[in-house]
Each structure stands twice: as C-alpha cells, then as structure tokens.
C-alpha cells in the first residue's frame, strides 16, 4: 500500500469541509475521486500535500511513514508526492525551462534531473520547442502539459492531479490523459480528482465518490460506471 | 471564575451598567479625596491608579484598594441590585421612539464621563483627546478595515481640518497679529464653531479627492504611497504657508472645544459612521474588499463606492482635526507627521479591523495606556509596541474585529436565560 488516508477531517474556519474520509492507493495504481463542485475533492488533495491543517483523529501514512510529520515542501521533496493544482498555477513570469528547474529545487542528483527533463520533453515535445518562452504565453493545453511535466520533475512516487481536464478541448484532454497513462506505466501512481466523472473513471482503475465531505461509494471503475446512483448524478443519465 | 464574575452580571442591561458607573464616579466626586488621603495617597489617583502604582510601588495596595472601593465595588453592587428595575426601565424605554432611549443612555454616559472628568482638568484633557482619537480611528477603519485598502493620509486630513478650523476661528474671533482685529463678536462663536468644523471636514474631503482619483483607477498598493505622498505634500504646504505661520504653528484658538462639544461630535461621528458601514454602501464596500471582480460583476460601482467611502472618512478626520486644534489650542505641521500616522494605525489594528467597537476599544486603550505608562519614560515605547505585537500575533485582525454597533440590540433589556429559550 502506497498511500493510506484514514478518517481525514478538515475545517475552514467554522465550516466542515471533510467529515472523516478514508481511502487508499496501492503502488502503480490510478485512482480517481469524483464528486460535485464543493464536495471536498480539492481539499482532500490539499490535505495530502499538507497545505491545509487537518483536525485531530486524522491518520495519513505514505509508504508506512506518518505523512503528518512532514511540512509541505518535504512532502514533495522527501516523499515524492507531487501535486498539480487546480487551474495549473504555473509561474507565468518564468520560462518553461525555469518552471521545470524550479520543480527540482530540492533535488541534488544532477544526472537524474537531466534525464527527467529529457523524459518530459520526449513525452511533451511541444514543451521542448517552447522551453525559452515565458509560461504565461503558452496555450491552455501546453500549460497543462507543463503543469504535469513540472509535477513529474518534483516527485515521482505519486502524482496528485486536480481537475486536469478543466478548460481543455476534448482532443487535448485525451492526449493529456494518454501522457499521464504513460507516466503511470513507468511506476508513478496517480490520484486524480475530477468533475468530469466519465473521463476520470475511464482513466482510473478504481474510484471513490465524494459527497458533502463524505465518501459515499467506492469500487472498481467498471462497477462505478455501472452504478445507477453514479449514472444518475455524475454521468448525465 | 465565570460563575463568580460573569453569571451574576449576565442580566445587567446597558442601562444598569451606566447607572452603576454613574454612581461610582459620583461617589468618587464626593468621597474620593478623603478616601485617597485615608489610604495614604496624597491625591485622588489619576487614571485608575496606574500612574501612582508605577511611580511608587509601595502604594500599589492603596491604589488597588482605592480602585476597588471607588469604582469596582459600587459599580458591582449597584448594577447587581438594579437588575430588575433597570431591565423594566429599559423594556419600557425601547418601546418609545428610538431617539428617546438613545438620548437617555447617552445622557447617562455623558453624566458619568463629566463627573469623572470634573475632578481634574488633566482628566478632561485626556478624555477629550481620547474621544478625538476615537473619531480618527473609526474614520481610518472605514478605509483600512471596511474597504481593505492601506491609506496613510489620515494625519494629512486631520491637518487640513485643524488648520481650516483654526484659521476660521482665529481669523474671525481673535485679535491676532496675522489676521488682524476681531471680526465677529465672541457671542457668535459657539454657533459658528460647528460650521468651521464642518467646512474643515469638507476641505479634507476635497483634499481626499486628490488621493482618491489617481489611486482608485487601479488595484494594488498604490493607494498606500499616493496617500503617503499626499501626507508629505500637505505637511510641506502648511510649512510654507506664512499666513498660518508655517512651522511655528498657529496658536490662540478660542476655547470652544469643551467636553460636551467634543462628546457630541464624537457621538455624531460614531453614529454616522456606524450607519454608513451598515448601509448598502457599507456592505458594498465589504464586497469590494473581499472580491473586487465579483463585486464589479454584481453591479456594485466599485470605483464610486470606494471614492464615496474615502471622502466620507476624510471628512470625519477633518472634523476630528478641527476639534484637536481647539483642544490643544495650538497646531503645528509637525504634529501631523509619520508619528501620528503610526499612532492612528496602531489604534485601528489594535482595536480590530472592520469594527466600530474595535475602533473605540483601540483608541481608548492606546490613548489611556500612553498616559498611564508615562512614568516609565523611555520604556513606555517598548511596552506599548510589545503589547501590540502580542495582540497581532494572537488575534491578527485585532482585539474586536468584525463587529458593528447594533444600537437596538444594545439597548434591549436582558431577559432571564429561561425566557430566551
């Protein structure tokens, strides 16, 4: 088991966002969390990345280590958990190359970094063409590629993806997901949260359904796709 | 703790507290001096005994005893005893038109302050300056709290108000080597004084336009430096105006800023700012602060809203400045510099952002602390900032943030808990 989250509770000021959710991800898996807007999907990822404080009772372990012992930057650099935030959030004022270099801030293995960079460029050849451009000048699809590439460089154990399909044309979306599959095949587990449930379930092997800060359903993707409740609420029929 | 100190007083309405305080200060007036002598204090202690305690530690027990006997005990006893009559009276009052209960409460408050202050002119002076500080703090809170901007020009607005009102009164009513002989009879003065203040306020508002127009064209921190530049400009301008005697300052203002006058203006200021921030414009201001884009989409005319609020705040700063000049009866440009700015900012953030209560608490506590810690000399300016830092760390938005004054709720009688349920 790679990541296990048990009884995760988060509140913003006085509003409860997560009421104690539990899930787990095994090595090499692709898992998705689907749910409506405001169900607590992004909060879950933020909690794993230690960007929001969790409440007492929460238990999170990563490769047998207590995740709560690590500050946000160490979660990335020591544990290898990378996070592609919602809306990509690139550093528009840095070039593509600089964005990638920044993602290796804590890494010391010069050779490994160079290899990883070559790998990113081979997965996303478009980025290679634009490596000296400012990130702010990229198109939406290219930005998503860079965001994934950046995550690829910063942590390879597991990648947390927050709405990777948002704002992308269907064709581009497919190609991004294909690249993610490729990354996954090389040993990076993926946890993706999506509003686009169909897309996510086709992509992932297993899924969890989040409603109002609680896990209401979980299972293999095929099972969930066939579930009438999921069909009604998330698949538009 | 709670059981002994809170619960017995939980049902005391505001009316009861005011009555209690009034009786306490009346007692001080009647029996303060002999009591102080009996306790070994040479005089009635100023500012609740703090000064004496710091100057002569040996007198701490006496000072504490004095404060307990004169202030705490009578207030506690009276409020406790008066719970049921006070509640009945308050219940009867709130059924009358709003103005009457408000007037009664304010009357009691004023009476208490007046009797307290009457003991020495030093108390009067401190009280007046504290009330003025309340006005300035509250008006700055409109900009820095409610609007969420960072403005540095308030001392400038005060200066404009102070100088205009001073020129008005000194020019018209005082024999002065610069403005010539008396122009109008003294008897008219107290009637024209409000006009001087209001015009001073308007002039400050007008000056505020010079800040508002360039800075609200854009987002970001530009208001901060434009307002700072404005402060430098106003100060430099006054230094160069020979007819107000430049850096030497203008003195000889008539003594019209009496305690009732200052009190009345403060009440007016608190009332109008409180109404303003609770009005639709005030709410729009909060919306602008929290999310300018969304507010823009919600048909809030952000620019107009901001400018209106800014001018309104400047107006009250100007009025406060006018009163300030007439309390000190002297103004000079260096009073309205960076130091004043730091002082007012400290009061706003100490008391609490976005809060009428907070501004009152902030202004009163910093003003009184500043006086009470006088005996510490230099160390006063280490203790006060330290206190502020601690408040900021533990309550980053200030002591009492986000709390408007709900007058109706304030005046209500307090029911028994079971009745509430």
């Amino acid at each position: 088991m790679l990541l296990s989250v048990d009884n995760l509770r988060v509140s913003y000021e006085k509003i409860k966002a997560l009421h104690g959710i539990s899930f787990r991800i095994d090595e090499g898996e692709i898992v998705c969390i689907i749910g409506a807007n405001g169900a607590g999907k992004s909060t879950t990822l933020r909690a794993i990345s230690r960007l929001v404080p969790v409440e007492a009772g929460t238990n999170m372990t990563f490769m047998g280590r207590d995740l709560l012992q690590y500050p946000p930057d160490k979660v990335v650099s020591k544990l290898g958990i990378s996070h592609v935030p919602e809306g990509r959030r690139l550093f528009d004022n840095l070039t593509v190359m600089e964005n990638l270099r920044l993602a290796t801030f804590a890494r010391r293995d010069g050779k490994g970094i160079a290899n990883d960079r070559d790998r990113v460029f081979s997965i996303f050849p478009r980025l290679s063409e634009r490596q000296h451009q400012k990130a702010g000048t990229l198109s939406g699809g290219e930005q998503q590629m860079l965001a994934v590439g950046r995550a690829f460089m910063s942590g390879r154990k597991i990648m947390l993806l927050d709405e990777p399909s948002m704002g992308l044309a269907p064709l581009l979306m497919m190609s991004v997901f294909d690249s993610l599959k490729e990354i996954n095949r090389e040993g990076t587990s993926i946890l993706v949260v999506e509003q686009n449930a169909r897309m996510a379930l086709q992509f992932a092997g297993r899924g969890y359904v989040l409603e109002n800060g609680r896990v209401v359903l979980e299972g293999r993707s095929e099972q969930l796709l066939a579930n009438p409740r999921v069909k009604k609420a998330y698949l538009g029929g | 703790m709670r059981r002994y100190f809170r619960t017995p007083f939980s049902r005391v309405p505001l009316l009861g507290w005011l009555a209690g305080i009034l009786i306490a200060v009346a007692l001080e007036r009647l029996a303060g001096a002999p009591l102080a002598l009996a306790l070994g204090l040479t005089k009635v202690p100023v500012l609740f005994g703090f000064v004496i305690m710091l100057k002569k530690p040996a007198l701490i027990p006496s000072a504490v005893l004095y404060v307990l006997l004169i202030y705490a005990a009578p207030t506690a006893v009276v409020t406790r005893l008066s719970i049921s009559p006070a509640n009945r009276l308050a219940a009867w009052l709130v059924r009358l038109p709003m103005a009457i209960p408000v007037a009664v409460h304010l009357g009691l408050l004023y009476a208490a302050l007046h009797i307290w202050a009457e003991i020495s002119d030093y108390r009067v002076l401190v009280l007046k300056l504290t009330l003025i500080a309340v006005m300035v703090t509250l008006s700055l809170n409109v900009i820095n709290g409610y609007m969420g901007e960072f403005s540095c020009s308030h001392p400038g607005f005060m200066a404009i108000g102070a100088y205009f009102a001073s020129v008005f009164t000194v020019g018209l009513f005082v024999n002065d080597q610069f403005f010539g002989a008396v122009f109008l009879p003294q008897a008219l003065g107290p009637f024209l004084f409000p006009i001087a203040l209001i015009l001073g306020g308007f002039l400050a508002s007008f000056g505020a336009l010079a800040v508002a127009i360039p800075s609200f064209r854009t987002r970001g921190d530009y208001l901060a430096i434009i307002s700072l530049a404005f402060l430098f400009i106003v100060k430099s301008l006054i230094e160069n105006l020979e007819f107000v005697r430049g850096p030497r300052g203008l003195s000889g203002q008539p003594d019209w800023a009496t305690l009732p006058t200052v009190f009345l203006w403060t009440v007016l200021c608190v009332w109008s700012i409180n109404n303003f921030v609770r009005s639709t414009v005030g709410k729009a201001l909060n919306a602008v602060r929290d999310n300018e884009m969304a507010a823009g989409a919600m048909t809030v005319d952000t620019r107009r809203t901001k400018i209106v609020a800014f001018l309104f705040a400047a107006f009250w700063a100007g009025v406060a400045g006018g009163l300030f000049a007439h309390v000190l009866r002297y103004v000079n440009p260096s009073t309205f510099g960076i130091q004043k700015l730091a002082e007012v900012l400290a009061m706003v953030y100490f008391g609490g952002l976005n809060s009428v209560y907070g501004s009152i608490v902030g202004a009163v506590s910093i003003s009184l602390l500043g006086e009470a810690l006088r005996p510490l000399e230099i160390f006063k300016w280490i203790i006060i900032p330290l206190l502020l830092i601690l408040v900021m760390i533990y309550r980053p938005t200030g002591l009492i943030a986000f709390k408007d004054l709900d007058v109706t709720a304030l005046l209500q009688p307090k029911r028994k808990p079971e009745e509430e349920a």
């Binding site: 959030r89 270099r101 920044l102 | 760390i393």
Partner: protein
C-alpha cells in the same frame, strides 16, 4: 552647466541610498507581499552594527596585532555587518511576520511598525541619547573637475550601490534560490508544491533585504557620519514609496525608482525654491502615478492568494 553637473553628482549619491534601501525593501515587498515597516529601522541597526564592527576593527588594527589598511577595514566592515544584520532581519521575520503569514497583510505591517519602534527605543535606552559619529574609514579626497566637486567617497558609494544591485539582480536571475523568489513573487501558494521550503525562503528574503539595508547603513555612515536612533524612519517610508513605485517583483524597478526619488528631490531643490522641495517632489510622484498607474517595471503576479 557646472551647477547641473554638480547636482547630477549629488543626485547620484543620494539616489544610491534610496536605491539600496528600496532594494532591500522591495525584496520583502515583492516576494512576500509584505509592507516591511521595520526596514528603515533595520537600516538604522545595520548602521550601528557597522559602527561597532568598524570600531572593533580599528582597535584591532591600531593594537598592532593585525596590519590592516583602511580600505580593508571598510570592506570587512561592510561584509561583517551585512552578515550580522541579516540575522536581525531573520529574527524580525521569525517574531513579527511568520506568525502572521495567514493574517491580513496590513496586520503584519503593523507588527513591523511596532518592531521598528522597539528597535528605535531599544537603541535609545541602550546607548543613550548620544549621537554616534561614524568613523571616517577612508580619508576624504576631493577632486575638482573643472568646477564640479567629486569626492572619492561619492564615487565609492555609487559604485558599491550599483555593484550590490547588479549582484542581487544576477542572484535573482541565475540561481535556483532567486528563481524560487521570483516564483514566490508571482504565486506564493504554489511554491511549496515545488518542494521549496517557504519558511527558509522567507527567512532568506529577510536576510538579504536586511543585509542590503546594512550595506546602505554603512555607506550612509561614511557619507553622513551622524547616527541616531531615529535616522531610519524617514528612509524607511521613502523606500516604501520607491519599492511600490518600482513595481512588484522587480529588482531593477526598485533600484530605478530609488534613483528617481533621489533625483527628484535633488533637482527640485535645484530648480525651485528649496522650501517647496517636498511639496513639488511628491506632487511629481503623484503625477507619475496618475499617468502610469502600474509603476515602472512591475512584473505580473497572480491575484489568487490561496490554492
């Protein structure tokens, strides 16, 4: 013409101070989005530290244990004081700013203001009301270039300031730390996701800003050798103006805005009656902002503060 050139020289020196202080101010302002109202007082502390260090070095040199020429003392003073003052900055960050990272920006500004007052008063209480005369580390030589008077100190100040600005520029452009700083200036919230330790970065930012303030403080001591506990206040506020004028996230912007402020003050005093200097100088600043409401070189930054 001679008058103009003389004033140009004057303005270069005066602008260098503003530039150097604005630079330190702008570090914190751009990268952490904070008004660092303690900066002026860190400048003051840096100057006093410089005084202490140089007195120590002079004593050491005159005791005959180590032979040191004056220029070496100056260089060592600058380096040592920058190093020591950077700790002052880090302490200020730790005590006054880090606990308030999630608070409204202005609250942190107020803590800064208060720390500043404590530094001033603390100095007054510690060292007394005496003003300190900064030792003249290098002998003043005045060159008369056909009527324009230039001193070796003036040249040194301008050169050192520009060198430091250039070094900082390179640091921010080329190193990974600098890159992280630029990234923070753009979008603070995402930076930890890159494995960048934000607390360390904040401390580093304050350290560099304070080190620059210390350098400015020593150069100030060399040019205007009278130190007093309140000397930093006005500089702090003017650096604040220059930093914002320069625009967020731009080292060059702050430097240029600092020079602009210095030049404005000097040339306004040259052209107009000097009694009106502040009035006119700041009206010009106000006008500039009306015409160019986005400052000079501000880089874009994300309006989103949270993830």
């Amino acid at each position: 013409m001679v008058i103009f050139l003389q004033n140009l020289v004057n303005a270069l020196q005066w602008g260098s101070f503003y530039a150097l202080i604005a630079l330190g101010y702008s570090m914190v302002y751009s990268i952490l989005m904070l008004f660092n109202f303690a900066h002026g007082d860190i400048f003051m502390v840096g100057s006093y530290i410089g005084f202490g260090v140089s007195m120590g070095l002079i004593a050491l040199a005159s005791s005959g244990l180590v032979a040191m020429p004056n220029w070496l003392i100056l260089v060592l003073t600058i380096l040592f004081s920058m190093f020591l003052t950077s700790f002052v900055g880090m302490i200020v960050e730790r005590v006054g700013y880090r606990p308030l990272r999630d608070a409204p920006r202005a609250s942190a500004a107020i803590t800064g203001l208060m720390i500043g007052i404590i530094l001033e008063t603390g100095n007054l209480a510690l060292l007394g009301a005496r003003r300190v005369s900064f030792p003249s580390l290098i002998e003043t030589t005045t060159y008369d270039v056909s009527g324009v008077f230039v001193t070796n100190k003036k040249i040194m100040i301008v050169v050192v300031s520009l060198l430091l600005a250039f070094a900082l520029h390179q640091f921010v452009r080329r190193t990974r730390w600098g890159m992280a700083m630029r990234a923070m200036a753009f979008d603070f919230a995402v930076v930890p996701l890159m494995g960048v330790p934000v607390n360390t970065m904040a401390a580093l930012t304050f350290a560099i800003g304070s080190a620059l303030a210390a350098a400015a403080g020593i150069l100030f001591g060399v040019a205007y050798p009278v130190l007093d506990p309140y000397m930093g206040i006005l500089f702090g506020w003017k650096a604040f103006v220059a930093a914002i004028l320069g625009g967020r996230g731009s080292v060059m912007g702050a430097t240029l805005a600092g020079f602009l402020l210095g030049f404005t003050e000097i040339f306004v005093a040259m052209i107009f009656p000097s009694t009106l200097r502040d009035l006119i100088a700041y009206s010009i600043i106000l006008l500039i902002l009306t015409v160019r409401p986005h400052g000079f070189f501000g880089e874009p930054y994300s309006a989103r503060l949270r993830l």
